[in-house]
């Protein structure tokens, strides 16, 4: 079936919905989402949106921009960081005005709290910058944007999985999608196409990410020849629930929670004497893994699945119940413990991809020299880059509201001055053939489950918080092998209706491709910067590596290139907290 829209938005999370809302002012807009949009993973974000409103502490967007740059270990494009910090203030007011129920200060203004790496006056001390709605900020953003899309009558194609992008050279003409309910193929022809498909944390065994976070956008584009930027930088959030990976917000530490090792020692004193537990995430995750590898984890067995404690018992019951109620609820449900009484067992959990589809500050997809016309990306799947080598807490929500909004505004302008692109009748053939091949093998091959588990284990142990040449080389080999074996898996379900196996195999293919790019780019970068921590190259090397990586994918071969970093405002300095 063929559909035509001025703009098509792929993904119904925060970035996609904000873009849809803005684009739909002038453009006839459709949102294609493999989930019902209100199930998107933006809804799981807990802590808040960093914006220098200055409602509680004196603040300035320039300080926010600086913190973002320093937090990203100077791999952040600095003009983009300024746009992020300034745009955050406007976007927060815009969301509040549209109904987002922020928590309030006694004066009735938007409440703000501390978050990791956010400081006043270029690193002097922690600042209350994170605008929050209890510990459900992401849920509230998603609800607010979805409500507004309903109000503006944006058209939704729910439970449609995008399998291909239609590119004619560097001009995007739309996408091909697979309707889960019927197994039918749909071609969406559009003047502008925006990918906002979110993260890909399911590459890892322990992750805070939803099952749906399989990197569909970046993988589809990579296979179509678009390079991916800075994929070696993958963030581990320091505090996931042991074993399960469910996120315990940094807001717990923002409210005064403290990390402790098996001896009850507040070990962050040794790693980040000024910001302590609120140091950036890469540093805290490394500190935890170092404690564990030196035998001071809770069990003390030095294994990578050991854990430490996050102690909030001294905060008092009232703070726990009012400021972090959902965290209390998770702990009771999954751990049968009450954080007001007992410390929480935590370990680093795969959380956020700093890298992704390279874009400019209006969401337009660009490689090092060329801009793809009519093709946009925003949110976690994109790389502007405002997160550099390590994202600061709250800046994921900031990214998606600022750049989702900007991309939508750009699309609204763009579609007015452009014609509907031409597409060939065979646009869906590639996707159709791929799925037909899968169906041909119904019942004649292995289950994909074991391959999925193997990939997650390889990524966890060999491309995790710490990595080195040996581990990443091993990972590249194993991932290539798994990619080959993926050709042998088969579906059992012959039906068309909600064939979850086909969806699962397409998702696994996406994850395997992105895992391979992550391992290969990590192997290439022979330094440690932000979340990319190499045992064999422990220092940052600005002379050699102050540059973004670009990775082009052809089959299982990765070709690497580079792109300059915008350091026009602040000169790189050693990163201490």
């Amino acid at each position: 079936m063929l559909h035509e829209f001025d703009s098509v938005i792929v993904g119904g999370g925060g970035a996609g919905l904000y873009a849809a809302l803005e684009a739909s002012r002038t453009a006839n807009t459709a949102v294609i989402s493999k989930l019902y949009p209100m199930r998107s993973h933006t809804g799981a974000a807990q802590g808040g949106i960093g914006a220098a409103l200055g409602n509680v502490d004196t603040d300035d967007p320039v300080w926010h921009a600086f913190d973002t740059v320093k937090g990203g270990d100077y791999l952040v494009d600095q003009t983009a960081a300024k746009i992020l910090a300034e745009g955050a203030v406007q976007a927060v007011y815009d969301l509040e005005n549209r109904g987002l129920p922020f928590s309030r200060t006694p004066e009735g203004r938007i409440a703000q709290r501390r978050f990791g790496g956010h400081t006043r006056n270029f690193g002097e001390a922690a600042v209350k910058r994170s605008c929050y709605a209890a510990d459900r900020t992401g849920h509230m953003i998603l609800q607010t944007l979805y409500q507004q899309c309903i109000r503006n009558k944006v058209e939704f194609y729910d439970e449609f999985h995008v399998v291909d992008v239609i590119l004619e050279g560097h001009r995007c003409a739309g996408v091909v999608a697979f309707e889960l309910a019927t197994g039918e193929f749909h071609v969406f022809r559009a003047k502008a196409t925006l990918f906002a498909t979110g993260g890909f944390g399911r590459m890892y065994r322990v992750t805070s990410n939803a099952h749906a976070n399989t990197g569909d956008g970046p993988a589809v584009l990579a296979r179509a020849g678009v390079p991916l930027e800075d994929m070696e930088f993958y963030q581990f959030h320091p505090t996931g629930i042991r074993g399960m990976g469910i996120l315990i917000t940094e807001g717990v530490r923002g409210e005064g929670g403290v990390l402790k090792n098996r001896h009850g020692e507040r070990f962050m004193e040794r790693y980040a004497p000024t910001l302590l537990d609120l140091a950036p995430r890469d540093m805290v995750s490394r500190a935890i893994m170092t404690e564990i590898s030196e035998g001071r984890g809770a069990r003390g067995d030095r294994r990578i699945d050991d854990y430490v404690y996050l102690d909030a018992t001294h905060l008092g019951r009232e703070t726990v119940e009012t400021k972090i109620p959902d965290i209390q609820d998770f702990c009771k449900t999954y751990l049968a413990l009450d954080p007001a009484e007992q410390p929480m067992p935590v370990q680093p959990t795969a959380h956020y991809g700093m890298g992704g589809i390279p874009t400019d500050v209006d969401g337009r997809v660009e490689s090092s020299t060329e801009v793809y016309e009519g093709l946009y990306a925003a949110g976690e799947c994109a790389c502007v880059s405002v997160h550099g080598a390590n994202r600061l807490g709250t800046n994921s929500l900031v990214d998606l509201i600022v750049f989702g909004r900007r991309a939508g505004q750009h699309i609204a302008e763009y579609v007015r001055g452009t014609d509907m692109p031409v597409i060939s009748e065979s646009a869906a053939d590639g996707a159709r053939k791929r799925i037909a091949r899968l169906r041909e093998r119904t019942g004649k091959g292995e289950f994909p489950g074991p391959l999925y588990e193997k990939m997650q284990e390889v990524m966890m142990s060999d491309v995790g918080v710490y990595r080195d040449a040996e581990s990443m080389r091993r990972a590249v080999d194993r991932l290539r092998e798994l990619r080959t074996r993926l050709g042998d898996v088969a579906v059992q379900d012959e039906g068309q209706r909600f064939n979850a196996e086909i969806l699962g195999i397409l998702e696994l293919e996406n994850l395997l491709d992105l895992s391979l790019v992550t391992a290969a780019t990590g192997l290439h970068r022979t330094e440690s910067r932000g979340a990319h921590s190499r045992r064999d190259f422990p220092e940052r090397s600005d002379d050699e590596w102050l540059k973004h990586s670009l990775a082009w994918m052809t089959g299982d071969q990765i070709e690497l290139g580079e792109k300059g970093v915008d350091v026009s405002i602040w000169q790189p300095k050693p990163r201490t907290y």
């Binding site: 809804g43 007011y93 509040e96 459900r136 749906a212 209706r497």
Partner: protein
Amino acid sequence: MNVKLEILRQNPDIAEAPHRVTYDVEVDQTDRVLDGLIQVTQNVDGSLGFRKSCAHGICGSDAMRINGKERLACRTLFRDVVETDGDVVSLEPLAHLPVQKDLMVDQEPFFEKFRSVKPYLIPKTQPEAGQEFLQSEEERELFDEATKCINCAACYSACPILDKNPDFIGPAAIVQAVRFTRDSRDQGLEARLDELDDPNGLWPCESKFECTRVCPREIKITKLINLTKRQVKKYREERGEEPNDR
């Protein structure tokens, strides 16, 4: 431990009556029921239909009837059900919505009712440009509970009124309306009076508390419905009007 998942299966594309299929799974006490379902599809029978996403009770994808009670499969640990009900765990799709496949129901009728209550801010005034609306902590607290709703439809399935009156808008839609009628920034009740003060709006509710009992977000839904009924009655009384309850 070994647990048997007894799943009510059906696929409208294949002409067969709904039937129960039992799967043996090897799980830990602390595994989620969702983990058991994933084990079945990844290793035993890939054709089993159910929805999932966040796996920790935030996205609302995996509400179903577990041993007869509406729960989220990702928030229900095996120890929670096995200790009380034994090691055969019965799984059925939500009620009051058409089954699409196995444990998946068509949520569109549910969302249609959600959309009908104007679930978006209809502001009373405009704030100063580049400023937030002012709202006191107490005003914010008034609608806090309703903001927790994840539209999982557990309450919609559990509501006994929908057994006899399928046109009742149901508990979740009322919660979504209340989210705004109690928000000091919104035009409130007046903007949604037609939908709430309607024979299929608030009034069919008979305070059976089933919605409150099953809500995975622990929202006191029945209480919110009753508060709103009183608010509507007061509104009508002040104008010398009768509620539109029949």
